[in-house]
């Protein structure tokens, strides 16, 4: 809330030179502002507040300095209490206000791909560099989603958006690899008709076929149906080894799993796998007993499974914020903040001033970055070169880490 008010105040007196020392007064060196844009109300609130914490931690560790540049941080909220989740109007509004505030040279977030689809074109025209910790939709950066993606997000033709999380093409592949390793021969694919669900189911399907898993059928389910008994009866007739679901929890997946088990396809005999859209407590609550043994992929590694530097971060985070337990995306927020701050530092060192253009250039120049997620680079699309994802399974009413899945090799 304060962040939003802050943003408005700065806009009010904006128009100064970029990153210049308009704060006036004594010895002030160059300054710059970064903003984060996260849903801080509703279901995502808990996880995203830890991301704000992680960004704060990254700044504190650098004394709010990116090299010689003094950094100011504004946390924006793209959710509304009424919606309980991200809101289209808020996303657009936040992007507009940051675009107009010339002190802002970097953007962290957003969390939701749908919100990103609104914000990227606005910030693209403003030439503002973005680092997301949570958007996995393929189409934001490369072909594979809708026909006119990703071009429609970049009206200027120059890229400004990067992400430290692994995109859904690799997550779809991770699901297929995991199934192959479990000895699955035939799979039935379902999706919830939404952009995310269809997208990831498409990616899974391509990879499953490439890995020699037979796709027995593909169907989009109606998220409002009372039950899926007839559908599951038909699927059971085909004797699949697994059912893959691309979609999110609110789209009736609890019922879907119940009816799958009810149709005689227990989770031991027939794998039920979803992606990070069902990797949450709410799924287990909705599915009840039928959740036990369900597989879900995650587009990265949980904090406890990160390599060495990641474990150091976990320790530092828990010392600084003992009351906000670390979540899966917290370390991705920390990485995003550090990548952005390093880009600002390099941009200043190279140009003698901090410009949006310079930050974007340096962001995309990030190579062999040694961070808490490992050593990785941004490719020309702004995607991470990391290929390690993870798989989790429901055990006794919660998701437990099951394995890492490297999609880098065949």
């Amino acid at each position: 809330m304060l962040g939003v008010i802050g943003a408005l105040l700065v806009v009010g007196c904006g128009g100064g030179e970029q990153g210049g020392g308009e704060k006036g007064g004594e010895d002030s060196g160059p300054t710059a502002t970064i903003v984060s844009d996260l849903p801080l109300q509703g279901a995502s609130r808990g996880q995203q507040e830890t991301v704000v914490n992680a960004i704060t931690l990254a700044l504190e560790e650098r004394n709010y300095m990116a090299g010689d540049v003094q950094i100011e941080y504004i946390s924006q909220d793209d959710a509304t209490a009424q919606a309980g989740k991200w809101d289209e109007a808020r996303c657009a509004e936040n992007a507009q206000s940051a675009a107009q505030n010339e002190d802002v040279v970097g953007w962290i977030g957003p969390y939701n791909s749908g919100c990103a689809a609104i914000e990227i074109p606005i910030l693209n025209q403003a030439g503002l560099g973005m680092v997301s910790h949570g958007n996995t939709a393929v189409g934001l950066t490369k072909p594979g989603g809708e026909p006119d993606e990703p071009e429609r997000y970049y009206p200027t033709g120059t890229r400004n958006y990067t992400r430290v999380i692994v995109a859904d093409d690799k997550q779809g592949r991770a699901g297929a690899v995991w199934m192959r390793d479990e000895g699955v021969q035939g799979v039935y694919i379902l999706d919830d008709q939404e952009t995310y669900g269809k997208g990831i189911a498409d990616q899974f399907q391509q990879n499953a076929e490439a890995l020699g898993i037979q796709v027995l059928g593909r169907e989009s389910v109606d998220p409002n149906a009372a039950n899926y008994r007839a559908l599951m009866g038909r699927i059971a007739q085909l004797n699949p080894d697994a059912v893959y679901f691309g979609g999110v929890t609110p789209n009736n997946v609890g019922q879907l799993v119940n009816d799958k088990v009810g149709a005689g396809m227990s989770n031991e005999d027939v794998i039920f796998m979803g992606a990070d859209g069902i990797l949450e407590e709410a799924f287990i609550e909705a599915a009840g007993g039928a959740a036990e043994g369900v597989y879900a992929t995650f587009a990265g590694l949980p904090a406890r499974e990160l390599p060495g530097a990641g474990q150091d971060f976990v320790q530092r985070y828990e010392e600084r914020f003992p009351d906000a337990p670390i979540e899966a995306l917290t370390s991705y927020g920390y990485e995003a903040a550090n990548v952005l701050l390093d880009a600002i530092e390099r941009a200043y060192n190279a140009d003698g001033q901090v410009t949006r253009e310079g930050v974007v250039r340096e962001l995309f120049a990030t190579r062999n970055y040694n961070g808490v997620l490992g050593t990785w680079s941004f490719d020309e699309n702004g995607d991470t070169t990391l290929t390690e994802l993870s798989g989790e399974r429901v055990q006794g009413d919660q998701f437990e880490f099951s394995r890492t899945i490297d999609v880098g090799e065949g």
Partner: protein, 365 residues
């Protein structure tokens, strides 16, 4: 008229009606026959699967029918679409979950009845949940009628329509406040295993399906006994036919209408709990979708007609299941509502004609 003459008259009438029928209706008949033949071919190919899906359809249809009865009962008496009925049904399922959890307003009354409870405990739990939900939903429905419909009985139709939609939203949002926006799971008190396991494996008919039959049939029998055989039922039929005349004959119209709403609410409560136990999940906006289907069923069968509501519900269930099996899930809504439109184009009053049952039996009496 002598019986033979009557039969002959009927025969020529049939021929005449065919001659008089438009080419559209002949095409429609031809399509229906072709579809039935296609289904028959599938049924012969894999009878086990066909029968299983037919049973799934009938069970799903029975649940829709039970909700549809609530719409049609109230419509038959006061000619009002009680939009809040679907949401009352949702409240019924929430009441069921709450009763089974044994905890209300933070007070634990008894240990939760769940998957691990003994058989006797499960039966007690199911009955308790059903009874509590039926009573509460009945009272809610009566309350809604008193507050939102009765004062508007002589107002323009639109006013009641809007208050009904308003009540629907109020209940839905109360459900949202009560249990939140995500799905909640029901304890599995009724077994998922195949009841025919020992007899045949080709057909799947689960104990859950039997449970639906065990709840639905007594309710249907009880309802039709009440309307056909009791004094109060007779009063309901009289009010349905002509409110003013019934009042002149000394029937308490207000009380009779209240009873109709009470019955509708009881059915909503029972079907809510049954839906939850059968499907295993419930959610705050359940009533909208299920209510829409039930309302469709009521119109399909002929609104106001109790037999019609049951027929419409089962028809929608079976069409849905057959479509899921042989055509594709994405087409289900398209097919169901196409059937509805076709039926209404050729029989604007629904399959069995409207209002006749509450007014005293089916058919063109």
């Amino acid at each position: 008229m002598a019986p033979t003459q009557e039969a002959k008259a009927k025969g020529t009438a049939l021929l005449d009606s065919f001659k008089a029928s438009s080419w559209q209706s002949r095409i429609a008949m031809a399509i229906v026959v072709a579809l039935l033949l296609l289904l028959l071919v599938q049924a012969i190919k894999d009878p086990g699967q066909f029968v299983s899906q037919l049973l799934v359809g009938i069970t799903n249809g029975a649940i829709i029918a039970l909700i549809a009865l609530g719409y049609t009962l109230v419509y038959g008496i006061v000619e009002l679409i009680n939009f809040a009925h679907g949401d009352n049904f949702m409240i019924g399922s929430f009441v069921g979950v709450t009763v089974l959890s044994g905890t209300f307003l933070g007070l634990g009354f008894f240990a939760p009845i769940g998957d691990e409870s003994g058989a006797a405990m499960k039966i007690v739990g199911v009955l308790l949940a059903l009874v509590v939900a039926m009573v509460l939903c009945g009272l809610i429905n009566v309350g809604i009628e008193r507050v939102a419909y009765k004062p508007l009985r002589n107002s323009p139709r639109l006013a009641v329509l809007i208050t009904a939609i308003g009540m629907s939203f109020i209940l839905q949002n109360l459900g949202l406040v009560w249990k939140g926006s995500s799905q909640i799971s029901f304890p599995s008190l009724v077994s998922d295993s195949n009841a025919l396991a020992g007899i045949t494996d080709a057909i799947s008919y689960r104990w859950k399906d039997i449970f639906v039959v065990l709840v639905t049939i007594p309710l249907l029998v009880g309802l039709s006994y009440f309307i056909q055989r009791t004094r109060q039922g007779k009063a309901m039929r009289a009010v349905a036919q002509d409110k003013e005349a019934a009042a002149m004959m000394g029937i308490n119209v207000n009380r009779t209408i209240s009873v109709a709403f009470l019955l509708g609410g009881i059915l909503a409560g029972a079907s809510g709990v049954m839906f939850g136990l059968f499907n295993g999940t419930t959610v705050f906006d359940l009533g909208f979708r299920q209510g829409l289907f039930a309302f469709t069923a009521a119109v399909l069968g002929g609104i106001g007609n109790l037999t019609g509501a049951v027929l419409g519900g089962i028809l929608i269930g079976v069409i849905g299941a057959m479509n899921d099996q042989y055509i594709g899930v994405r087409w289900t809504d398209i097919v169901i509502f196409t059937v509805l439109i076709l039926v209404l184009v050729f029989r604007p009053r629904g399959l069995l004609g409207d209002r006749s049952a509450v007014q005293g039996g089916g058919g063109q009496q």
